[in-house]
């Protein structure tokens, strides 16, 4: 409202509104902030001060250095990077092509294929890994980045739905006029439609990217050799066991691992929100 009417009756409500927002924001950041505080403490400080007491020196980076080397995170970042790039590139091609065919062509089985993908999304991943493990084993995909990448490229119903929705909004007359000009279907897809899909591709890449970067369950099953094939998520397992109570070190590791997500979030906030919303209205 542009009119500045000071409504006395609304004042308590407004205060309550802001208090609740501040409270829940505090709840959301507290666990992470406490980690940041502890990550900057020296061993001695960590032992002697309360966890919520601020560190003496905010430029004490030894914990980060030690966590980075102990958990072999350099290697982990390289592996995660390789996995991320390949999974994203492959799933963009696979997803857009599939959506193109499902949206533009009528053929027997079209509906069936859509249902097959939809049903697949209902199957809980943790349960499926029991049998997927056996298949990965038979394919010699255990401890193989390639195998893990191929598995991760598999069904990703949400991006497929984002692409299909997007195709529905691209006029089919575009295809038709290209057909009249004698263009092949491949030309139509790659030269005309694919460039138009850019917003949908960005959206689904952000969603899939965050999911892939954070994935740890399958990674811990199939990339068991943590030294060679650890990802950023699984490299944190190093801190289970003897290092399990050195929280100044662990917190530093956690902060390093969530830094990429934080950077992506700050730079692509809008796309992440809109991507989530687009993915959710598939039903």
């Amino acid at each position: 409202m542009n009119t500045k009417v000071f409504n006395v009756k609304m004042l308590p409500l407004t205060i309550l509104k802001y208090l609740s927002l501040i409270f829940f924001s505090f709840v959301a950041v507290l666990p992470v902030v406490s980690c940041v505080i502890t990550a900057f403490k020296t061993e001695e400080e960590y032992q002697t001060t309360n966890v919520m007491v601020l560190p003496q020196n905010w430029l004490y980076f030894e914990n980060f250095k030690e966590a980075f080397t102990k958990a072999n995170m350099g290697r982990a970042f390289v592996n995660s990077g390789i996995i991320l790039v390949f999974v994203l590139v492959c799933s963009v091609f696979i997803g857009t092509q599939l959506a193109y065919v499902l949206n533009r062509f009528k053929f027997p089985g079209n509906g069936l294929i859509r249902s097959l993908f939809l049903f697949a999304s209902l199957l809980p991943g943790v349960a499926m890994q029991i049998a997927v493990y056996q298949i990965m084993y038979n394919l010699h995909f255990i401890n193989s980045l390639l195998g893990y990448i191929i598995m991760m490229c598999g069904t990703d119903v949400i991006s497929i739905y984002i692409y299909i929705q997007f195709f529905e909004n691209i006029s089919i007359s575009l295809d038709e006029s290209a057909i009249v000009d004698g263009a092949s279907y491949f030309t139509i897809f790659y030269r005309i439609l694919f460039p138009l899909l850019k917003p949908a591709i960005i959206t689904s890449c952000i969603l899939k990217g965050v999911g892939t970067f954070n994935e740890y369950y399958a990674a811990s099953l199939y990339l068991q050799d943590k030294k060679k094939y650890g990802t950023v998520a699984t490299s944190l397992y190093t801190f289970v066991g003897p290092l399990g109570s050195k929280y100044n070190l662990i917190c530093a590791g956690v902060i390093i691992a969530l830094l990429p997500a934080l950077i992506v979030f700050i730079t692509c906030q809008k796309q992440i929100y809109s991507g989530l919303t687009a993915g959710a209205v598939k039903g």
């Binding site: 609740s20 927002l21 829940f24 924001s25 959301a28 950041v29 507290l30 666990p31 992470v32 309360n50 966890v51 919520m52 696979i94 092509q97 065919v101 062509f105 294929i113 097959l116 993908f117 199957l123 809980p124 943790v126 349960a127 499926m128 029991i130 049998a131 997927v132 493990y133 056996q134 298949i135 191929i150 490229c153 069904t155 057909i179 491949f186 897809f189 965050v210 970067f213 954070n214 740890y216 369950y217 099953l221 998520a233 699984t234 944190l236 929280y247 917190c251 956690v254 969530l258 934080l262 992506v264 979030f265 906030q269 929100y273 809109s274 989530l276 919303t277 959710a280 209205v281 039903g283």
Partner: protein, 326 residues
């Protein structure tokens, strides 16, 4: 009559091209779908009738694995932990709905609040595990904050060990992780409501509560329904919080944590497969029932509207006729 074409001609024709492009674009996704979803699904169904490990000999045992799922103390009974997670998701949805409604209207610093509350969703599961092990450790973050508020440390329980509270502690982490994400979804849905509706309502003198009841709620019921269905399914298959924080110790082992343990540590693949199939059947039934339920609820609401409109039209017609006669 059509002239018979050679294969080469056919392949160059539109029909041939169409078939070719369909095949070329679908073969990879379908193979992946088959190899990593439906083949394992079928295999798993098969495994559930055997006593077997990942390697070595297997023995056919019929339905014994299924019987065990219901008899063993740690299997089927673990499902009762789902109720904690269901209660948690109710809290989560209500909280998300409240915050989304508040943030959909002009709020100072709205973007910042939204970002802060959403960010937990982007942290990976293992990191969350460590963060909360740290958070709940005796005398650490949570205890310190409670002490600021005047609680005595001696009166506080061990959040992850005390069996009367530890499941709630874990559910709390799950709510913490997802309420911001739900909130963003709801904000998206509320924003898509036509702005004119609010203006009209304000002109008519509707207050905030009425606006919420009669404009916001009806227009986002689809997404709420979807989230209710997802959260019940999610509660049945709750896995991450106990897996990464307590490893299922001290009575926090949900059904899937137990299943993971049986499959990958004890290597009783047959029993674990039977557990998976049983839960899958429950989830599918629950999803189906909920869909039917919501369909019924919404359709009957719409039917009422149609009837009401018809009645009104009839009344109007009668009045018009009466007018015409007089």
């Amino acid at each position: 009559m059509k002239k018979k074409r050679t294969f080469g001609e056919w392949a160059r024709s539109r029909d041939g091209q169409k078939l070719f492009v369909i095949m070329a674009f679908m073969i990879i996704p379908l193979v992946l779908l088959f190899v990593f979803t439906y083949l394992p699904f079928g295999e798993m169904f098969g495994y559930s009738f055997y006593n077997m490990k990942y390697t070595g000999a297997r023995k056919f045992v019929g339905l014994k694995n299924y019987a065990k799922v219901f008899q063993r103390d740690d299997c089927f009974k673990a499902l009762k932990l789902s109720f904690y997670y269901m209660a948690g998701s109710v809290v989560q949805l209500v909280l998300a709905l409240y915050l989304a409604t508040v943030l959909s209207f002009r709020v100072k610093g709205g973007g910042l609040f939204k970002g802060l509350m959403f960010f937990p969703y982007l942290i990976n599961g293992i990191a969350i595990g460590f963060i909360f092990k740290f958070f709940y450790t005796r005398g650490f973050v949570f205890d310190s904050v409670l002490q600021w508020c005047g609680f005595e440390l001696d009166n506080l329980p061990y959040w992850l060990k005390d069996q009367s509270i530890n499941n709630w502690s874990l559910v709390g982490t799950s709510v913490w992780r997802y309420f911001g994400q739900n909130m963003v979804l709801f904000i998206g849905a509320i924003m898509s409501v036509d702005n004119d509706l609010y203006e009209a309502a304000m002109l008519d003198g509707a207050n905030k509560a009425q606006q919420f009841m009669y404009i916001i709620l009806p227009s986002i019921k689809t997404i709420i329904t979807l989230n209710v269905i997802l959260s019940i399914t999610g509660s049945l298959s709750a896995f991450e919080p106990p897996y990464v924080i307590t490893s299922g110790a001290n009575g926090t082992g949900t059904y899937f944590v137990v299943m993971h343990e049986i499959a990958h540590t004890q290597q009783k693949v047959g029993l674990a497969s039977a557990m998976a199939i049983v839960l899958l059947a429950i989830i599918l039934t629950a999803t189906g029932l909920q869909k039917l339920f919501f369909k019924y609820v919404f359709r009957s609401a719409e039917d009422e509207d149609i009837n009401a409109t018809k009645k009104r039209e009839k009344r109007l017609a009668r009045m018009n006729r009466a007018k015409a006669r007089s």
